[in-house]
């Protein structure tokens, strides 16, 4: 009988909720001052859960992971919040929560000074776009990036960034994988409180963890 049990890995969990289910639960935010640039109505009628902001009105909601996918324009959407406008918001969000899924949505593909906007985002939608293309891009992101593994990767990045030991991360992964396999919800607030007592990092980590719980609930 082996003395040591191999830690469970989240990469071993291959199951993925069906796309049709995920389409309805994924919360999408379009931030664009031009209401006609994204086919919001068409995608809503297809069952996608989409909200539209002409400008960034509440950074807290973006930071807290309220939206699973943020479709972000670069110009005229966040100049009050950041000198870099949309790029500034994107940089801020990715720094705060690397697993926040963002689609760069702009007509400024020709602009050399905005190249980092396209590079930093998880996907790109250069304007103008038609509904079929948008569906294709969003569906592809849901299937490839809106995954347990993606969010776990975000958690690991943040934990490593604060110097949490690899062994501790492996133990945590084992506990999370075990909870998913048993069909139970892992208590991230309790799990992360071993490393951090309070603060915005703890809030971010728990919000990412909740996404893993949300996704694993569909695997039952």
């Amino acid at each position: 009988m082996p003395i040591f049990r191999r830690n469970r890995k989240l990469s071993d969990i291959r199951a993925q909720p069906p796309l049709a289910t995920l389409r309805k639960v994924v919360r999408i935010l379009v931030v664009d001052d031009d209401p006609n640039s994204f086919p919001i109505k068409t995608l809503q009628s297809e069952g996608y859960n989409i909200e539209h902001w002409p400008k960034v009105t509440n950074v807290n909601r973006l930071e807290s992971g309220d939206f699973d996918i943020i479709i972000l324009d670069i110009v005229g959407v966040a100049s009050e919040w950041s000198a870099g406008d949309g790029l500034g918001i994107l940089e801020h969000l990715k720094k705060r929560n690397p697993s926040q899924i963002v689609i760069a949505f702009s007509g400024h593909t020709f602009d050399l000074s905005k190249t980092s906007f396209w590079k930093l985002a998880d996907e790109t939608l250069p304007k103008p776009v038609d509904a079929l293309k948008c569906k294709q891009v969003v569906d592809n992101l849901i299937e490839t990036t809106f995954t347990i593994q993606h969010y776990w990767h975000g958690i690991v990045q943040l934990l490593r960034g604060t110097g949490v030991h690899e062994k501790k991360i492996e133990q945590l992964e084992d506990q999370v994988a075990s909870a998913i396999t048993k069909g139970t919800q892992y208590n991230y607030a309790e799990g992360f409180s071993r490393f951090f007592k309070a603060g915005e990092l703890l809030v971010t980590l728990v919000s990412i963890g909740e996404k893993i719980n949300q996704l694993s609930a569909f695997l039952k």
Binding site: A104, T124, P128, D130
Partner: protein, 360 residues
């Protein structure tokens, strides 16, 4: 964009040597005789001397001072000089000591000035480019509006999903959507010229290469018909290799060129087929009948702004950007676009041109 190494050579008052060994005169000082008669032109790989900022001083085998001036990732080599404080080599010819005397601080100062000038040039280019293509953004906004209106019309049609409704649309509406799609792809090509990095924007996704070329064949049916040129498709592929969105621009360029240069009454043949096995791939060939590209120009046709003499004679209008864009897209995907004339046509002025590529 690091323009400094390109312009530094032009702006240099000192003689410079390029990486291929070619000597260039400075606007203030020419090449000294020792350098022009030097057989090796391998100036810098010798005794390492002190460095000041981004300027490194070396002494060549003939005892002359060489400065390697770094501009970010690239560098410029100033050759055949004499640095009185750092060069104690007795082999340095006395005529060079008199005529090509320069202090390392002067070179450091020249580097700083060059950077300032180049920065100004880069800003001017950037402003000029932005002004020239800022109107593109307004056109994109208008095209977006056309999309939304067309989609609103499709929403009224029978069908349970948008895809089904779009499938049930009348030919005119479908044609409108395809035309707007073509316009959109053409605009993305303009973006590639302004910002070549945009060919790599987004994630690589499984791309139905056959469907993309099939769509292009439909889009170009009308202009081809006007020229009495037929478009024939051959083969089939269901392999979807991972590719960026920019792959559509490549398909557009190849079809656009085929229609543009194909002679009246002839056919364009588009062949798409899968290659099975470990390195599964899709192979595409676009064949048309028109002026052949002579062997000496077959590489140059992929350069920015280049149009072969035959192409200019056949079609007056053209920017020479299409195949350059196609090359950028191919490079982003790690393959090459091949050009060949059909075997029986080699040596003739007119015949069957074949552009092909293989994407894994």
């Amino acid at each position: 964009m690091n323009l400094a190494p390109k312009y530094a050579g032009l702006l240099s008052p000192y003689p410079t040597v390029r990486s291929n060994g070619t000597l260039k005169q400075g606007w203030g000082l020419g090449q000294c005789q020792t350098c022009t008669t030097c057989k090796t032109k391998d100036c810098r790989d010798y005794r390492n001397q002190p460095k000041k900022g981004d300027v490194q001083h070396f002494i060549c085998p003939f005892g002359l001072s060489v400065f390697v001036v770094r501009f970010e990732s690239a560098g410029v080599t100033i050759n055949g000089m004499y640095e009185p404080a750092l060069n104690g080599d007795k082999r340095c010819p006395s005529r060079v000591k008199k005529s090509h005397r320069v202090n390392i601080d002067q070179v450091v100062e020249w580097r700083a000035r060059t950077l300032r000038v180049v920065e100004e040039i880069a800003q001017d280019i950037d402003t000029g480019t932005k002004e020239a293509i800022s109107s593109l953004h307004d056109i994109k906004t208008a095209v977006g509006l056309v999309y939304r209106n067309a989609e609103g019309m499709i929403q009224e049609l029978p069908g349970s999903t948008f895809d089904e409704k779009a499938e049930n649309a009348e030919a005119n509406l479908k044609s409108l959507l395809k035309s707007v799609g073509l316009l959109s792809t053409r605009m993305s090509m303009a973006s590639i010229v302004a910002n070549p990095e945009s060919v790599r924007f987004g994630q690589k996704r499984p791309m139905p290469i056959y469907k993309i070329f099939d769509k292009m064949c439909h889009l170009f049916e009308e202009p081809a018909n006007r020229k009495r040129v037929g478009i024939r498709k051959s083969g089939y592929s269901d392999h979807k290799p991972p590719a960026y969105d920019s792959i559509e621009s490549l398909a557009l360029v190849l079809m656009d060129n085929a229609v543009k240069y194909c002679m009246q009454g002839e056919d364009i043949i588009v062949r798409v087929h899968d290659v099975m096995g470990e390195n599964a791939a899709v192979v595409v060939e676009v064949e048309s009948f028109g002026p052949l590209v002579p062997p000496e120009e077959q590489t140059a046709i992929f350069e920015k702004g280049y149009r072969s003499r035959q192409a200019k004679e056949a079609v007056a209008g053209g920017s020479g950007l299409g195949l350059y864009i196609a090359k950028l897209v191919a490079q982003a995907h790690g393959f090459e676009i091949q050009y060949r004339a059909a075997e029986s046509e080699q040596g003739r002025r007119i015949g069957r041109n074949i552009f092909s590529f293989r994407i894994e």
